[in-house]
Amino acid sequence: MTVTGGVVIVGGAMAALRTAEALRRHSVTLPVTIIGSESYLPYNRPPLSKEALRSRTLEHADLAFPLRDSVAHVQFVTGREVRSSDLESGIVTDSEGDDYSFEFLVAATGLRPRRSELAANLAGVHVLHSLDDALALRPRLGPGARLVISGSGFVALELAATARGLGCQVTVVARGDKPLGLLGPELSAALVDRHASEGVRFVLGHTIAAVHGEEAVEKIEISSGEVVSCDVYVEAIGSIPNTEWLEGNDLDLSDGVLTDSHLRAVRESGQPWPNVYAVGDVARFPHWLAEGLPRRVGHWSNPTDSAKHVATEIAHALDTGVTTADFEPIPSFWSDQYDFHLFSLGLPELHDTAITVQGACDGGECVVEYHRDGRLVGVAGVGLRSVVQGYREQFIRGKVAI
């Protein structure tokens, strides 16, 4: 038994740190233990697709979140993966076989990159999710390097932009015909145009059929039949929630950890566990913008928002006088690709109709509203950040109306 009692947070990234900080802010004095599979203390991930690849020297210390005095007594366990859990008994077990008993458990295990089975063990095959991923990829990106990216989400396109800046030849292969289609057809087309004008080649509506090479990747075969020479192949084809360690506990783990509106993990019967919560990318919670349907939210603001919420839930459960309400966040995220500075509020991915309400999506500044069944669910802007920010009041009012 390594640790007894208190709050055990499984996962060692931003959501875990923010949970610990917020617990202390609510004067929860229980011991807090954070168990993370990476060898690093919590760090900031957005630079991984940008500054961490452009710099030759950037390291963990440059990305590490400052540790406030309030978390001085938090025990950080790094380089250990929690492998199993018994929620009835209140115990989780890590990769070394050590047990941790808990009064409260917070699942903050996030996601891992989805991998194809095409490219086992070839050098030059990468993903981009963790700092170690970025450090492994960066020496391979340079003038003339032939980079093939599978996928067309944010990671894929930010990497494409960074790699072009480093002088790589970049080919993006994606199954769909609209990269970042969650932003609607016009912004998607504008993004593709911007990348194309920078020299990125798109092969859309196709997938990777085969990866060829002896010890290192040499050629990529696309489902169109085309074969391209390749020095670096990056798979950016989505993510898988890390929930295997929670199996066997009567939870719905079909896509992350299903929770109720208080972020309490729910049993298959629908009854919530009173002391088990999920935060960050791994939490699938009823979302007010999705008419209460459960969703996982991978946007920037969510780890912090959900962490703060769970801290209030734990403080409330301890009768500290802290009150709680349904978790009703207003998500926000941004993406930088070249001088294309995208900023969004809400959940654009829910839209059935995208309307450009200001400017034009032709590479210049614009604002796009996203509606579903006639209701505003999201907004995004290229530039015009103040205008997009102005929508926050509308979302707050929308919450009250619902």
Binding site: R25, P46, F65, W300, T304, F343, L384, R385, S386
Partner: protein, 63 residues
């Protein structure tokens, strides 16, 4: 009194801090960040929230 410092080399004007501490941070007409150099202790929770959400981790507070 809390002193606020923003590393303007790092700041990319994402404006996340504006949501958390609107009395201290704002985006101007050119969408560039402007902020008060000092704030009352009552703003501490909001300021710490702003520090947390900054995508570039560019904000520091000095007591």
């Amino acid at each position: 009194m809390i002193k606020i410092s923003v590393d303007m080399e790092k700041c990319q004007n994402y404006g996340q801090c504006v949501f958390e501490a609107p009395t201290v941070f704002r985006l101007n007409a050119e969408d560039k960040l402007e902020y008060e150099a000092t704030a009352d202790d009552a703003e501490r929770a909001n300021l710490e929230a702003a520090v947390d959400v900054c995508p570039m981790q560019a904000i520091t507070l000095v007591d």
